[in-house]
């Protein structure tokens, strides 16, 4: 199989380039893209990428495979490759540190902005803040986000305004805390989002939903935030 990899080492290279590798994959086995990268490491040890859990939990190995963002560790080669060719690039829109490693600083900055922690000014009870099963259910489809950045880096609005638009991942998390029955900062959180960029730069093209490796739906969460803002203001 032909594997084409985006290579860039800012200390040595003037510009990024695509490098092709030939690799024989074991017959009768559908490897994951990450496994292919591990095998290629034997051919060329200078290929750089992030990985940790290798089972779709940590979100380290988000990358662009044949034009679609995803986690290399849980994407089978058969699903990613087209015409027996696998093209691997870093996540689009973020600065490249080296090869497939991107600088996630801007992404985390947006995550930080939505204050991703429970805010509750009332005195903490002796054991825990209780939630009914119905209240807990509202967090399903939100809390599972692993911050791999596949969605935000697939979003043109995030590409053009990464400093102002929170992005699908951050907004999914924002809604996770807006809808949490134990959080008391709902109004402040909503006020922080009521500008033309933070939420409203989303045009609902759903690239985020299309790429999310955990099958989450940021567009729906963004729609719910809009509804909350509208209900508050009318």
């Amino acid at each position: 199989m032909l594997v084409s990899i985006y290579r860039y080492n800012p200390e040595v290279d003037d510009a990024p380039y695509m490098k092709d590798y030939q690799i024989d994959l074991p017959a009768g086995k559908d490897l994951m893209v990450l496994d292919v990268l591990q095998l290629l490491k034997e051919q060329d040890s200078s290929i750089s990428y992030r990985r940790s859990c290798r089972e779709g939990v940590c979100g380290s190995d988000g990358m662009n495979m044949n034009g679609k963002n995803g986690l290399a560790c849980i994407t089978p080669v058969s699903a990613a490759a087209k015409d027996d060719k696998l093209i691997l690039r870093p996540l689009p829109g973020l600065p490249v540190v080296r090869d497939l490693v991107v600088d996630m600083g801007q992404f985390y900055k947006q995550y930080e902005k939505i204050r991703p922690y429970l805010i509750n000014e009332s005195p903490a009870p002796a054991i825990e803040r209780l939630q009914s099963p119905e209240e807990r259910e509202k967090l399903d489809g939100l809390y599972e986000c692993i911050l791999c950045a596949c969605c935000s880096t697939a979003c043109p609005s995030f590409w053009w305004n990464p400093d102002k638009f929170v992005g699908p991942s951050g907004l999914l998390q924002a809604y996770r805390f807006l809808i949490d029955s134990r959080d008391t900062a709902t109004q402040e959180r909503l006020s922080d989002l009521d500008d033309p960029f933070s939420v409203f730069r989303c045009h609902g093209i759903m690239n985020c939903v299309n790429v999310c490796p955990k099958g989450l739906n940021p567009t729906k969460a963004i729609g719910n935030i809009r509804t909350m803002l509208l209900q508050r203001a009318t």
Binding site: V199, F200, A233
Partner: protein, 115 residues
């Protein structure tokens, strides 16, 4: 919160709502004009100018005209903040858009009430 002074209503929610309301008005007006043309295949000049002499059609047309202004301002403002990164160029583009929309609205009023 991101601040800005050139957006239509300075609030994301307000712009978003106005974009949708103006879109609704534009769709209704399009359906109305298309419907009128379909149901009056042998349209004469007198009939056409008579239509625009009625007060409610003039009000509906003015509402549509204002909706075009609002809708295009919000849309083009979004486009300019997406793609034009140099502040000077972006502000110039937004100014030209604002001027053109104002001209269209003023001119449209003259056309509607000048028949």
């Amino acid at each position: 919160m991101v601040t800005q002074i050139t957006s239509f209503g300075r609030s994301g929610l307000y712009d978003w709502m106005m974009q949708r309301i103006s879109a609704l008005v534009l769709s209704l007006y399009t359906l109305f004009i298309l419907g009128y043309l379909v149901f009056n295949p042998d349209l004469t000049y007198d009939q056409w100018s008579g239509l625009f002499e009625t007060t409610w059609v003039r009000i509906f047309s003015l509402l549509t005209l204002l909706s075009i202004g609002v809708h295009s301002w919000i849309g083009l403002w979004s486009v300019s903040t997406d793609y034009i990164k140099a502040t000077g160029v972006r502000f110039f583009f937004q100014s030209v858009c604002g001027l053109v929309m104002f001209v269209y609205v003023a001119w449209g009023i003259q056309v509607l009430w000048g028949l």
